[in-house]
């Protein structure tokens, strides 16, 4: 076997330029697959890893999501909250209310969304993942204090807002006690353009008792779907409507994202597969030429006792060695390309993302290269092995 490798290697080296070009052809195809898959996995993980922290969370809205549209149908009542609290398996509940308010700073007035809720629960949902740039978080007894998002502090007003500055919200004065960091991809829309108040202050400023949002944490993630169903049922019953409430588990959101990414990856791999088909015709062409050039040599080998199977295996070995090298080089390229794409994407889009290179993708890449190599080498190798020795020897 070692000698067959050696012979195949010699003949690959003999046609060095052509072999290198063939290797490159396969490498490009494999690199495309590996890079696209790794970037795809990286994107998926960047999104889901932020979400998995909230796998035990059920978000409840008073409204209906149809496709990309959300129609708000009003607010929850205290009775809704009490009913939800009575459901078994729930660890904690946070209620939030929000609405737009007119905010004034140094004579400029801007409409801004105000979010209010239990400071501890708001903290666990927004403070922990995003973090503060300056100042401190809200305390339960802060009636005249607010914490503002990054864009509120830096973009909304003609001058930047700092800690200890005063904002006038719907005519009432608040002191800025903290400013959020810039939110990453998932939080940019939830935190950056908003102002956070305690629940009591919010109710006063917005003149409302309506609860717009209930966040529920469950003990057992497995039960989340069932509990979400029950929450919906109870609130719908309270309001006498079939679709008043939407209760979404983070698990189902993560699943949906997973499905979307599986489709995206499928499409990307399909595109990369085209590159591979092109590469495989390259191998076949190289091998066919090699067989033709070596017709005489094949005849000689047969004359001195080589069997058809010897010739077949020699040529197959040659094509699979070329494609193995192509596959390995392609994997290496692919990883580098994936890292570069991820780096560019995270710098350009301001999101945290690293390529996820799965060993299965690498092995798969090499395996695909080998299969392509063997399949496209099969026809030329069979041609070679079927040659009549006497005609092959005579061929010059």
């Amino acid at each position: 076997m070692r000698d067959k490798f050696l012979m195949a290697y010699r003949s690959i080296r003999e046609r060095r330029t052509r072999s290198i070009l063939t290797v490159l052809g396969i490498a490009v195809g494999i690199a495309a697959i590996v890079a696209l898959m790794s970037v795809g996995y990286g994107m998926e993980e960047a999104i889901t890893s932020e979400l998995t922290v909230y796998a035990d969370v059920i978000a409840v809205f008073p409204g209906k999501i149809t496709g990309p549209r959300y129609v708000e149908l009003g607010g929850f009542t205290d009775r809704d909250v009490r009913d939800v609290q009575r459901i078994g398996g729930i660890k904690s509940i946070a209620t939030m209310t929000y609405d737009a308010a007119e905010v004034e700073y140094r004579n400029k007035r801007v409409p801004i969304f105000i979010i209010g809720g239990d400071t501890k629960e708001l903290g666990s949902f927004y403070l922990e993942p995003v973090g503060l740039k300056e100042g401190r978080w809200l305390r339960e007894n802060d009636y005249k204090a607010c914490v503002i998002g990054y864009r509120v502090a830096n973009e909304f007003f003609s001058e930047k807002v700092h800690v200890n500055d005063k904002l006038v919200i719907n005519g009432k004065k608040f002191i800025v006690v903290g400013i959020f960091e810039k939110g990453s991809m998932l939080y940019a829309n939830d935190v950056d353009p908003h102002i956070f108040l305690t629940l009591r202050a919010t109710k006063e400023v917005l003149q409302t008792h309506e609860i717009k949002h209930i966040l529920v944490r469950v003990y057992n993630i497995e039960e989340a779907e069932a509990i979400a169903g029950e929450i919906k049922e109870r609130i719908n019953a309270n309001h006498g409507l079939d679709d008043f409430a939407t209760a979404m588990t983070m698990g189902s959101v993560i699943d949906q994202i997973g499905t979307v990414f599986t489709i995206i990856r499928g499409v990307l791999v399909g595109i990369a597969a085209i590159a591979l088909v092109v590469a495989s015709t390259g191998i076949m062409n190289t091998m066919l030429m090699s067989v033709m050039e070596r017709t005489h040599e094949i005849g000689v080998m047969k004359a001195i006792g080589a069997k058809d199977s010897d010739i077949l295996s020699l040529f197959l070995l040659e094509s699979s060695m070329v494609s193995l090298v192509g596959g390995a080089v392609g994997c290496g390229f692919g990883v580098i390309v994936a890292e570069v794409i991820s780096f560019c994407a995270s710098t350009a889009l301001g999101i945290e993302m690293t390529a996820v290179v799965k060993p299965a993708v690498l092995f798969g890449g090499i395996a695909v290269a080998m299969v392509v190599g063997v399949l496209s080498g099969l026809y030329p190798a069979r041609n070679a092995s079927m040659m009549s020795p006497v005609e092959a020897v005579r061929y010059e």
């Binding site: 003999e14 000689v300 004359a303 001195i304 006792g305 080589a306 020795p389 020897v393």
Partner: protein
């Protein structure tokens, strides 16, 4: 022993049938040194290819040690070539990517001989043909005579009973040709059957038996 019976080979050239061999009946006993002479197109090489199991007859048979080679399949014929027959070609036909030692070892490789044993024997064979110092040279670095001696060593690698030479001296100068005939004579003295096709009267004179061919028939 080699025996042909009514050996006939017909090539189809367009509409016409061309007889390369017509009803050739020939017997070559073990240990004979036979030269086949004749003009181009007389069927010498075709006869050699039939005896060497490189080609199959249209009709008739070739028996080697009692086995009808036409009844063998491709693999069995390959085995026959490998074990019983050594080929020497006019063009030497060495594999140019392999060095002398590897070329000589190649038939043993196809026979499944272990690497170490193979290289030892190849070395011994090259020393015997006087190329002990040229073992690691590629064919392109060897002279015609040297290449033909490598080819002879290769023909001997599986220790065959029959050596077939198709114009073995056709591509070398007279002096080298004589040296090659010396080697073949030596192999014949060891008891091997030597069959040589040649144009050259001097070469033919060294053989014990001479047969002439014309138009696909063996004369005499």
């Amino acid at each position: 022993m080699i025996r042909t019976e009514h050996l006939t080979k017909v090539y189809r050239m367009g509409e016409a049938d061309v007889y390369a061999l017509r009803e050739v009946n020939l017997e070559i006993k073990d240990g004979e040194f036979i030269a086949i002479l004749g003009p181009s197109g007389s069927g010498k090489s075709t006869l050699l290819n039939m005896i060497g199991c490189l080609d199959t007859p249209t009709s008739g048979s070739v028996f080697i040690d009692g086995i009808d080679t036409a009844s063998l399949n491709e693999n069995e014929r390959a085995e026959m070539r490998r074990e019983k027959i050594g080929f020497i070609f006019q063009q030497f036909n060495l594999i140019h990517t392999l060095n002398a030692l590897e070329n000589v070892a190649l038939p043993m490789f196809f026979a499944g001989v272990k690497r170490k044993k193979r290289l030892e024997r190849a070395e011994e064979l090259l020393v015997n043909v006087g190329l002990g110092d040229r073992m690691y040279h590629k064919p392109s670095e060897l002279s015609g005579g040297e290449q033909q001696r490598v080819a002879i060593a290769r023909a001997l690698s599986n220790d065959p009973e029959i050596i077939i030479g198709d114009e073995p001296t056709g591509n070398v100068d007279t002096e080298t040709g004589r040296a090659i005939m010396d080697i073949l004579e030596g192999l014949n003295k060891e008891g091997r059957t030597i069959i040589v096709v040649t144009h050259n009267a001097e070469v033919a004179a060294r053989a014990g038996i001479r047969k002439r061919m014309r138009d696909g028939r063996v004369l005499d």
